[in-house]
Amino acid sequence: METHLLEDFAKRKRAKFFRQQTFFLVMVIIVLSALFGFLNPRFLSQGNLLAVFQQIAVLGIATMSMTLLLISGGIDLSIGSMIGLSGVVICKMVMGGYATLPAVVIGFLLPVGCGLVNGIIVSKSKCIPLIVTLGMNYVYYGLALVISQGLFLSLKGKFTFLGRGRLGGVPISVVVLFVVVIAIHFLLRNTKFGRRLVVMGGNEQVAFLSGINVDRLKIANYTFSGALIGLASLVLVSRLGNILANAGEGYELRALASAIIGGVTFEGGRGSVLGAFLGVVLLGIVQNGLNILNVSSYFQTFTIGLIIVIAVVVSNLEKVRKT
């Protein structure tokens, strides 16, 4: 009897995996990759596959941020503007003659502060985070516009290693992406902080009645998610070398879409980091594959929209069947 439950648990977990969205996603990714590779062998070259991951590095980190929020029952729609704001400030400082390091540090800390502000408003006002952060999206975007005066700002060729550098042939941004994904995976699985986020997302009342300070936890989570956005912003601005205030536009929705494709839900408490990561990979592969096949970018937008809807409908089929 001692090990009965534990053994049983491992067995069930294996069985469950094949029914899960993660498995489904892996299959879709393999089939699509084979298809693109068949249509254009260049797709499967090592260089191109690394390019895929380089292209999704920023979105991938942003998706990890969104996943943390969704699983805890929150959401942040202002992350796109945070990226723009941070990028604009870095460039402005560099152009104003500041050294790169302080510019980068401040560029990183800005989204941390934005996340803190979002967290405080969400937890203290008890308003729906969707609405609060939708409003904050305009606030941060407005700030970025004011600071940049709507102009194209440049890094003047500095700070390139994070976005364009390579480590033994692998782009540093891809290394950063994998480190972040693995870290967030363990954060949610094996840390008290992560576990409390999951429980709060599962049932906030239960978390509260169990002695968790839910306000503080929310603020901490929004702040931490802001730090991930700070990182994403550094990668983006470093890769682009220049920036407009709206550079981050759309990242909030794509990050949301990726997480949901990966099985994370709006209701909180559910979903995995691995799933969300696979969601990003799927989007990246489709975009890259369509590029290689010379499909027009207009049609790409259409296709990506379709994938999001199909993924959400398919993942809901089991639920529909149950009821």
């Binding site: 439950l5 534990l6 094996n190 840390t191 008290k192 409390r196 429980v199 599962g202 002695g211 300070n213």
Partner: protein, 506 residues
Amino acid sequence: MQPVIVAEKVTKSFPGVQALKGVSLALSPGEIHCVVGENGAGKSTLIKILSGFLRPDSGTIAVNGRTFPYLTPHVAQSLGIQAIYQENILVPQMSVAENIFAGCEIASRLGIVNHRETLRRARTIMDSLGVTLPVEERVENLSVAEQQLVKIARAIAFEPRVLILDEPTAMFNVKETRMVLGLVESLAQRGIGIIYISHRLEEILTIAHYITVLRDGSQVACHHHRMERVDMNTLTREMAGKAVSAFQRSKASIEGEVILEVRDFRLTPQDDPLSLVLHRGEILGIAGLIGSGRTEIFQTLFGLWKKWSGEVWIKEKRVSLHSPQDAIRHGLGYITEDRQRTGLALGLSVAKNVTIPSLDDQFQGFFFPLREEYRIVEKYVEGLDIKTPSLEQEVRFLSGGNQQKVILARWLLKDAEIIIFDEPTIGIDVNAKGEIHRLIADLARQGKSVILISSENPELLALCDRILVVRHGKVVRELVGEEMNEENIISSAFGVTSDGDSSSIF
């Protein structure tokens, strides 16, 4: 006169509980038939069957001489049966008139609502009830009592032959209650048959023609009140005597170390001060009707709400409990009455639900290994005999009894010294009930102290060393030793004094 509705030997069971055991009832036009019983005696089930929301397992319902095996809400309405439940069915943002005709809007053939006609007819109905309410007013601006009148008006708009009222005066003061009672009597005089459910015996004795007493799903009595003039003591006695659970704990003496003391506790400035003492190893029962304020008292103690005044002493030290965090730190645990909504994160695993409050006690540092967590939880799963295929199982798939044990495991792991149970066996089948009772008794034997809030008097009597009866937010009686019996609990909870009279509102 031919009865308008006759229920014949109606039975209904839910998983694990027989809610109605052959109840019969006949109602003639213009009669007021009251149904009384304790919480869970089967009153709600009965009226839900009469209004078509539940199908009886056996028995028949005859309406206007036609016999049906069951009704549906639609059929019941078309036969002229209208029910007014306690839940709010009004749309707060809409006007009184719009609410009255919601679902049967007065409209032209094109579906365009005729506002003027709607207001006119609403006024007519209000006038016929002798009620002055502005029909253009939004419902959200009305008092609870006025909203109740709107609900009644809405039912009357359908020109019912039978009107079922479930606790229509539950939240009302004396004046409002009189108003509703007067209205009910005038409706009866218009020839509408009325089925009236209330916890307030004094009301019932005022307006009833017939009184049916339910206990444990059985029909104990049906009095022709106008003929025999029943009194409160009779009703109280008849409501008592519910089937006793198999488990019986031998009562300990209630001396010894005082673990919790509450002094002059008030939730609001209007409340009477409340004081209580809890000893180590004691099970203290809290009796009272639903809505008597028992739950709020202990939620406040646990730090969910701000109290108005009062002191809390734990182990002879004064403590202030401003949040569940504080309460838990001082050794309290709270098992809520709503397992599904506030007790468990249903979509999460057994293990996650158990360890929530104990992560800091069990694991040092930031990380913790899942294997270790499972090893800890497994001890409790086995110790409490929780039936689950694995520790990873989502708790939503467990039975009610096992879900309750998961919550208990949470507080055992946390090593709470004072555990508050609020309706621990609600919705749990009979066998699991006995098991939960045994576990609660075990807690006391291990030196933990238990506060047991329950509507099930036999449960209180089987387990508790002492019982406090709460009515209108205050402790009206403490029952010890020989006094601990069902009749005493019920008469105190219902506010009946020893001479059989009502102590309260009239």
